[in-house]
């Protein structure tokens, strides 16, 4: 059974999710950015719940365990307000505490720039002061990469995004010119996986981005064409595992019936 790239990406994420995970999903922006930041993570989480991780937990915005069986087809403010869920604390400080305490095991990240160490930039292109392009700021992404066990970066491959060195380090990956994670005092964490529209990456013990799998039909050269740096490339690069028929049907018929999540 054929599948879309978005479905493959969602499946690639869902395979990494475990029943004991507490997954943080943010509230991304519109269009393709929404699919990457919210759509794929939600589909992957629900697929994991239905497939192999029944107890998997999600925190979305400031709502714990939104009922994914009652996912709103359009996330207007009122639909979010009314979404049934287990817990919505009195203010967002509670979620920040949970993050810092290390309660979250997985988080999802988008960024305008990602570099070979997994540093992320959502702050500015160019200098941070008077930049060429001002982006949105910082949010809690810095906390994700500092305190979450296995952050997953979901972005499309593009040489504008995958840069040698990010212009501004909004969130710290595995190393920078200042030193390694350990040298800077991080004890754990850092990006675990990068899922793109052409391939997936993980990171070497030295914290360098490494090609982990190629989507069906994609070559290494096609990947390198879309990157401004060369990742570590193992001798053997496996194919990204494909979802089976049952999983594809789950996505299409149950999880994203209204095509709100994987539309773009």
């Amino acid at each position: 059974m054929s599948f879309t790239t978005n479905e493959l990406m969602a499946y690639a994420v869902s395979r990494r999710l475990r029943s004991e995970d507490l997954v943080f999903i943010g509230v991304g922006t519109a269009g393709r950015a929404y699919t990457l930041a919210v759509g794929i993570p939600l589909v992957a989480s629900r697929l994991a719940q239905l497939d192999h991780a029944p107890d998997l937990d999600i925190y979305l915005g400031n709502l714990l365990s939104p009922d994914l069986a009652k996912m709103p087809t359009q996330l207007t403010q009122d639909a979010i307000t009314r979404w049934p869920g287990a817990h919505a604390p009195a203010d967002i400080g509670n979620k920040v505490d949970a993050l810092v305490r290390g309660d979250f095991t997985v988080s999802f990240e988008s960024a305008a720039q990602v570099d070979r160490w997994g540093n992320l930039n959502i702050t500015a292109i160019g200098a941070a002061e008077a930049p060429d392009v001002r982006l949105v700021g910082t949010l809690a992404q810095a906390e994700h990469l500092a305190f979450v066990e296995r952050p997953i970066i979901v972005v499309d491959l593009s040489s504008r995004t995958f840069v040698e060195e990010v212009d501004v380090i909004s969130s710290f990956g595995h190393a920078s010119t200042q030193g390694s994670r350990r040298q800077l005092g991080y004890s754990t964490g850092g990006p675990a996986l990068v899922v793109t529209d052409l391939c997936t990456f993980d990171f070497t013990g030295q914290g360098l981005m490494r090609l982990n799998s190629l989507h069906p039909g994609v070559t290494v050269d096609q990947v390198l064409d879309q990157m401004s740096f060369e990742p570590v490339i193992p001798d053997q690069v496996p194919q990204t595992p494909k979802p089976n028929e049952e999983q594809i049907k789950l996505i299409r018929n149950e999880i994203d019936e209204g095509q709100a999540l994987l539309r773009h």
């Binding site: 400031n62 207007t76 009195a90 967002i92 001002r134 910082t138 500092a146 800077l184 005092g185």
Partner: protein
């Protein structure tokens, strides 16, 4: 309890130019837009603002050219894209920007709420946003190295809320979207101005005191401003006005076009009059949602 019900115009007149103002709300929700528009009408200038995730408020103040600095975790238009005027003003170096990540920003406001000059935070080394006024401290028990941030000390805090009595007790509905920092901002405020959708009798507040999230003791002025977050949303009251946001973003592509758009927004002369006109044109009723 004293009567703190104040006309919006008078409340805004009490905000001095050159002051630091904490602005509540998060993303497109409960931005204090009636207060912000009145700030622009009155020409209050050279403001330093502190925000959580801001959108319309920061963008409009940037468009009005009244900002001296911004500190916060985010300015953008959520589903709708980047904040056009804020973005341009930062790119042109019109004011300074202090980026903060969520835990550091929360700690700034919590320190104020707790009456402390600083709070320690679990350090996030090597990132851009810790360059702004972060110090190193050592835990006296474990020797652990931590960061410290100073208490937020805005001179004025402005929030938009659901309902309150004339004494300034502000209550939320039992079911709401709580993805913001308004409660903590209010607790640590020095001078607090709150606009509300609705003024209700004190008896209604007193019957459910656990729903009051901002007590009158913290509030200096409470103003009635129906649709006070428009064109943003006020959860349980109305959704964001998608059509208006698209007009805003289209106008924002060019500074002069937005100046004209802003002039139109501020015409009418007062928030009450603006809302009356919009309501008359049936533009607001379609946004309304019902409280659970």
């Amino acid at each position: 309890m004293r009567d703190k019900l104040t006309p919006l115009e008078q409340a805004v007149a009490s905000i001095p130019s050159c002051s630091t103002v904490a602005v509540g709300g998060s993303l497109l929700r409960r931005q204090p837009m009636a207060l912000v528009r009145e700030i622009l009408r009155q020409g209050t200038d050279r403001l330093s603002i502190m925000t959580w995730a801001s959108s319309l408020a920061a963008d409009l103040l940037a468009a009005g050219g009244v900002l001296r600095s911004w500190e916060g975790i985010y300015v953008g238009f959520w589903w709708y894209g980047l904040a056009p005027n804020f973005r341009r003003a930062v790119q042109w170096g019109e004011f300074t920007v202090q980026d903060r990540s969520e835990s550091y920003m929360t700690a700034r406001f919590r320190a104020a709420a707790m009456g402390l000059p600083y709070l320690p935070v679990a350090p996030i080394p090597g990132i851009h946003s810790i360059r702004h006024g972060v110090q190193e401290v050592t835990c006296p028990f474990t020797g652990q190295q931590l960061h410290a941030v100073p208490a937020a000390e805005p001179e004025v805090t402005i929030l938009h809320a659901y309902r309150g009595d004339r004494y300034g007790n502000i209550a939320w509905p039992a079911h709401r979207d709580s993805d913001d920092l308004d409660l903590i901002m209010a607790s640590g405020a020095r001078r607090l101005i709150v606009s509300v959708e609705e003024i209700v009798p004190h008896e209604q507040i007193a019957a459910m005191p656990n729903l009051t999230y901002i007590p009158h003791t913290k509030v200096d002025m409470i103003c009635q401003a129906r649709f006070g977050a428009w064109p943003g949303s006020c959860d349980t009251r109305y959704d964001e006005d998608a059509e208006e946001l698209k007009r805003w973003l289209a106008a924002g592509r060019d500074p002069q076009t937005f100046a004209d758009y802003l002039g139109g927004l501020l015409a009418g002369g007062s928030h009450a009059q603006m809302i009356e006109e919009l309501a008359g044109a049936q533009r607001l009723s379609s946004l309304e949602v019902s409280e659970r």
